[in-house]
C-alpha cells in the first residue's frame, strides 16, 4: 500500500492515454462507447448505432450486445476476450425521479460460465455517461495491476500503474477519491469501481461502486454483487476504475421534455414524503424492512433454507436493524433519490480481522445480507451481521452467495459430510458466529477451508462427493444453486410460481426477475398454471426494463400511490408503470406505451436466453431446481411443518397420511411437487414463445426483430 496519497501520486505511471472531445448527451445518449483493451492498451471510441438504441436500449442490453460480439462460444470467463461492460441507460443520470442512477455490469461469470448481469448504484454509470460515454467496454488482461482513469472534465483517459493495494475495497475507494479530488467538495465528483482480495481468491468477487457522502465525509459503496464479476475484474488485473465529472446538473441528461420529468418526479417524491413512514419505511430501514414480515410469513430462510422462521428472529428484526442505522441522513445512492434506502451503520467498531479495533462506516445491512449471513446460517446477532457485511464488502465478496455457501457448509458439517479435519478446526454448526466470521476471513484472504468454500456451492458439491464420499443426490437436494449461482434469500417452498421465478431465469436464482411469493402463496392470485405462467412472463419482462434504463426497481413498488387499491391490478402499481413510460418518452423523445415497454424487455430477455444457448446452456435442464427450493428434503424439515404437509397430502393429493411413514410422506410429496414444477416449465415456456426445451422459437425471435443471422444460426443449431 502506498504510504501516503503523495506517494501514490508520485507512483502514477501512464501506460497509455487518449484525449477525446466529450460527446454531448442528447436525449439520454452520447452515442459513443469507450472501448479499452488492456492487453495491448488500445483505447478507442465506438459509435452507438440507432439499431442498438432501438433493440438493446442501453444498460444491460448494450452490455449483452457488446459481449456477444466480443466473445466466442468457447470463450471462458478467464480468457482475455471476456469483457466487462458497464452501462447505465438512457434514463440513468436524471436527478428528478428517485432511483435513476444505476449501472448495469455484464460479463461471463466464473460461477455459471455463462452470461452474468448485475445492477448497482453509486455514481459511476451516470458520471461515465456525462463524461461522454454510454458504455465502457473492457477487454483483455493486463500484465500488472492497473487503474483506468476517465477524466470527464478534461476529456482524457489513461491506463496507469499506481502504487495502491487493491485488497481492501473501502480503502481503494477512499484513497483514489482523495488522490483525484482537489478539495473536500470535489470528492462528490468522483466515483471509483474496485473489488478487493475476494476478487482474487474467490469465484464470488463483486464490484464496489463508490459515491461520496458529503455529510459523513466518506466514500461509500454499492455492490454489483452477483456472479463473480469482481473475480473477472481482478483476473484482468484491474485494481480500479475511476471517473471524474464535475458539472452535474439537473439537465446533464439533456432530455427531450424536462418539464414532464420534473412533474413526474415531484409527484412521486410527494408520495414518498407522505406515505413511506406508514408503508415500508424505506427511508428508515431500507430493504431490511422485510426482515420481520418475512419471518412472520414463514419466508425467511433459516438453516440453509430448511425453514422459514425462527424463534430468535427478533435479534435481526426490522426494528432492531432500524435502531442501528443512523437516521435522517440523505441516504440515496444517486442524486435526487427521495426513497433514500441506502442505510448505514456509523462508527462501528470491528472486533475481528485485519481492521480489528477500527471504527468504520458499514453500508447496510440490507435485507439479503441480514437474511443470508444471519438467519440462513442460524445467527441472529446484529453485530455479527454488520461486521460480516463490512468484511464481505471490503474483501469484495458477494454477501448473498457467501450466506448461502456458509449455510450449505453448515448443513454438510451437521450431517457429518465435512468435519473439523476438513474445515481446519472450524466448528461449522448453525448459529456459530465465530466460525462463520472466520470462514469469511478465510474466503476473503484465500486461506484454509475458505479456499474450498469460495468456489461456490456447485463446486463444493463436486469436491464433497469426490473427495469426502458424500452422497451426490443429497448434496444436489440441499445445495442451493441453480446454473451455478447461489440462491438469494427467500424461502420458496410454498410458492410454485417463485420456484420458477428463481430457476427459470437467465442468470440464475436472483430475485430480480420475479418475486411472486405473496401473489402466489398468500394472496392466492395465481391459482392456475396459466396464471402463474402469465406472471412469470409479465414480471420478468417488466423488471428487465429497469436494467435497460439505468433504473432501480425499488421506487416502483416500495412506495404505493394513493388510489392504487382501486385499480384493476394493484400488484403492478399501474400509476408507477405509467410514470416510467412517461419518463422514457420525456428523456428520449420517443412515444412508447406500456405494451412496447414490455416488448423492449422481451427483445433483450430472449437475446440473453439465446446467448446462454450459444455458450452451451439456456435449455430446460439448466432451469432445474434443487429440491430444497421445492419441498422438504429431510425428516426434520417435514416434521417442522407436518400439519401443513399432511394437509396438503390429504387435500391436494387425495392421500390419507395417517398411517404413512414419514419417508413415504416425503416421497409422495416430492413426486407431486416435482411433477408440478415440470408442468409449470411447460406452461411458462409456451407463454414465453419457447419450445418445450426452453429455446425461443424462430417465429418468436422474428416477431421481436432480433432475428440477426448469427442469432438465428444459434437457435437453429439447438432446435
Amino acid at each position: 500500500m502506498a504510504k501516503s496519497i503523495e506517494d501514490m501520486r508520485k507512483s502514477r505511471r501512464a501506460l497509455a492515454s487518449y484525449d477525446y472531445d466529450q460527446a454531448e448527451v442528447e436525449k439520454g445518449y452520447t452515442g459513443k462507447t469507450l472501448y479499452i483493451n488492456i492487453s495491448d492498451n488500445t483505447i478507442k471510441s465506438k459509435n452507438v448505432t440507432e439499431q442498438m438504441k432501438d433493440i438493446f436500449i442501453g444498460g444491460k442490453g448494450f452490455g449483452l450486445w457488446y459481449l456477444w460480439n466480443g466473445v466466442k462460444p468457447e470463450t471462458r470467463w478467464n480468457d482475455p476476450e471476456n469483457e466487462i461492460v458497464i452501462s447505465s441507460g438512457p434514463i440513468g443520470g436524471i436527478t428528478q425521479y428517485p432511483g435513476s442512477g444505476k449501472s448495469l455490469v455484464v460479463t461471463l461469470s466464473p460461477l455459471t460460465n455463462s452470461v452474468m448481469d448485475s445492477n448497482v448504484g453509486g455514481f459511476f454509470g451516470p458520471y461515465l455517461k456525462f463524461s461522454g460515454w454510454d458504455a465502457l467496454e473492457i477487454q483483455g488482461k493486463a500484465e500488472k495491476d492497473i487503474v483506468i482513469f476517465i477524466d470527464g472534465d478534461k476529456g482524457k483517459i489513461t491506463i496507469e500503474e499506481v502504487d495502491i493495494d487493491p485488497t481492501a475495497s473501502h480503502l481503494v475507494s477512499e484513497q483514489l477519491t482523495e488522490l483525484l479530488a482537489e478539495n473536500e467538495k470535489d470528492k462528490k465528483n468522483i466515483s471509483i469501481v474496485s473489488s478487493g482480495s475476494g476478487g482474487e481468491n474467490t469465484n464470488i468477487g463483486i464490484l464496489n461502486f463508490s459515491f461520496y457522502d458529503l455529510r459523513r465525509k466518506v466514500a461509500r459503496m454499492k455492490q454489483a454483487g452477483r456472479g463473480g464479476i469482481g473475480t473477472v475484474f481482478r483476473d484482468k488485473k484491474i485494481a480500479a476504475l475511476a471517473v471524474k465529472f464535475s458539472n452535474l446538473s439537473g439537465r446533464s441528461n439533456n432530455p427531450a421534455d424536462p418539464s414532464k420529468i420534473a412533474k413526474t418526479g415531484v409527484k412521486i417524491t410527494r408520495e414518498i414524503n407522505k406515505f413511506d413512514d406508514e408503508q415500508f419505511r424505506m427511508r428508515q430501514i431500507g430493504t431490511a424492512n422485510l426482515m420481520t414480515p418475512m419471518n412472520d410469513y414463514d419466508l425467511l430462510p433459516v438453516h440453509n433454507f430448511k425453514y422459514g422462521s425462527h424463534p430468535d428472529a427478533a435479534g435481526l428484526s426490522s426494528d432492531t436493524l432500524r435502531d442501528r442505522f443512523t437516521q435522517n441522513m440523505p441516504d440515496g445512492c444517486w442524486v435526487g433519490c427521495a426513497l433514500s434506502c441506502c442505510k448505514a451503520v456509523d462508527n462501528f467498531e470491528l472486533k475481528t480481522g485485519p481492521f480489528k479495533g477500527e471504527k468504520v462506516l458499514v453500508d447496510g445491512p440490507e435485507y439479503e445480507n441480514a437474511a443470508g449471513l444471519g438467519a440462513n446460517c442460524g445467527i441472529f446477532d446484529a453485530n455479527y451481521v454488520i461486521e460480516a457485511n463490512f468484511y464481505c464488502d471490503t474483501y469484495g465478496i458477494d454477501t448473498i452467495s457467501t450466506g448461502t455457501i456458509i449455510a450449505f457448509a453448515m448443513e454438510c458439517y451437521e450431517n457429518g459430510i465435512i468435519n473439523k479435519e476438513i474445515t481446519g478446526g472450524l466448528e461449522l454448526t448453525f448459529g456459530n458466529a465465530d466460525a462463520a466470521m472466520e470462514l469469511i476471513h478465510q474466503m476473503g484472504q484465500g486461506k484454509g477451508f475458505g479456499k474450498i468454500a469460495s468456489q461456490g456451492v456447485r463446486r463444493m458439491k463436486k469436491i464433497f462427493a469426490e473427495e469426502y464420499d458424500a452422497d451426490p443426490a443429497f448434496l444436489q437436494d440441499i445445495g442451493m444453486e441453480n446454473k451455478g449461482l447461489e440462491y438469494s434469500q427467500y424461502q420458496a417452498k410454498e410458492s410454485l410460481a417463485q420456484q420458477g421465478g428463481y430457476a427459470m431465469t437467465n442468470k440464475g436464482p436472483q430475485h430480480d426477475e420475479a418475486w411472486l411469493i405473496f401473489m402466489d402463496m398468500v394472496n392466492n392470485q395465481l391459482p392456475t398454471f396459466e396464471k402463474k405462467a402469465e406472471a412469470l412472463h409479465y414480471f420478468p419482462m417488466f423488471r428487465t426494463w429497469f436494467g435497460l434504463q439505468g433504473l432501480c426497481k425499488l421506487p416502483w413498488n416500495d412506495i404505493v400511490p394513493e388510489g392504487n387499491a382501486q385499480t384493476d391490478s394493484p400488484e403492478k402499481i399501474p400509476e408507477h408503470v405509467q410514470n416510467y413510460v412517461d419518463i422514457f418518452n420525456a428523456v428520449t423523445g420517443k412515444k412508447i406505451d406500456q405494451d412496447e415497454m414490455i416488448r423492449q424487455s422481451e427483445r433483450v430477455y430472449n437475446f440473453q436466453r439465446i446467448f446462454n444457448l450459444r455458450l452451451g446452456f439456456g435449455t430446460r435442464e439448466h432451469d432445474a431446481s434443487p429440491y430444497r427450493a421445492l419441498g422438504p428434503v429431510t425428516e426434520e424439515e417435514y416434521e417442522s411443518r407436518s400439519e401443513r404437509y399432511d394437509k396438503q397430502l390429504k387435500e391436494d393429493l387425495g392421500i390419507d397420511p395417517t398411517e404413512m411413514s414419514i419417508t413415504d410422506k416425503i416421497k409422495e410429496m416430492r413426486k407431486y411437487r416435482e411433477g408440478r414444477y415440470e408442468t409449470l416449465m411447460d406452461v411458462v415456456y409456451e407463454r414465453r414463445g419457447w419450445t418445450k426445451n426452453g429455446i425461443p422459437k424462430l417465429e418468436k425471435i422474428k416477431e421481436l426483430g432480433i432475428d440477426f443471422p448469427e442469432v438465428v444460426d444459434v437457435v437453429k443449431k439447438n432446435l
Binding site: 406508514e278 408503508q279 415500508f280 419505511r281 430493504t287 422485510l290 420481520t292 414480515p293 412472520d296 410469513y297 440490507e366 435485507y367 439479503e368 427467500y490 430475485h511 418475486w515 411472486l516 411469493i517 405473496f518 401473489m519 398468500v522 394472496n523 392466492n524 392470485q525 391459482p527 414480471f539 425499488l554 416502483w556 413498488n557 404505493v560 392504487n564 387499491a565 382501486q566 394493484p570 400488484e571 402499481i573
Partner: protein
C-alpha cells in the same frame, strides 16, 4: 364460513377486517382488502364488520427486494 384469499376460514360473530387480519397473522404494512369486491380503506378496518359467507381478498402489495 368466509373465504379469505381463496381459502375457507371460520366466521366469527362480530369479526372486523382488523380482527381477521390479526387472526390470519397478516402483519404486512401494505395490504389491500376487498370484502365482496368492495375495497375497504385502512381507516375503516377497525369498524368494518365482515358478514358470514363473505368473500375477502387481502392482497399484500409486495414484490420483494
Amino acid at each position: 364460513m368466509i373465504e379469505v384469499n381463496g381459502k375457507q376460514v371460520e366466521w366469527e360473530e362480530g369479526i372486523t377486517v382488523e380482527k381477521l387480519l390479526k387472526k390470519m397473522n397478516y402483519t404486512f404494512p401494505k395490504i389491500v382488502v376487498r370484502v365482496d369486491g368492495k375495497v375497504i380503506e385502512k381507516s375503516d378496518w377497525e369498524e368494518h364488520h365482515i358478514p358470514d359467507q363473505s368473500v375477502v381478498q387481502a392482497h399484500h402489495l409486495i414484490a420483494g427486494g
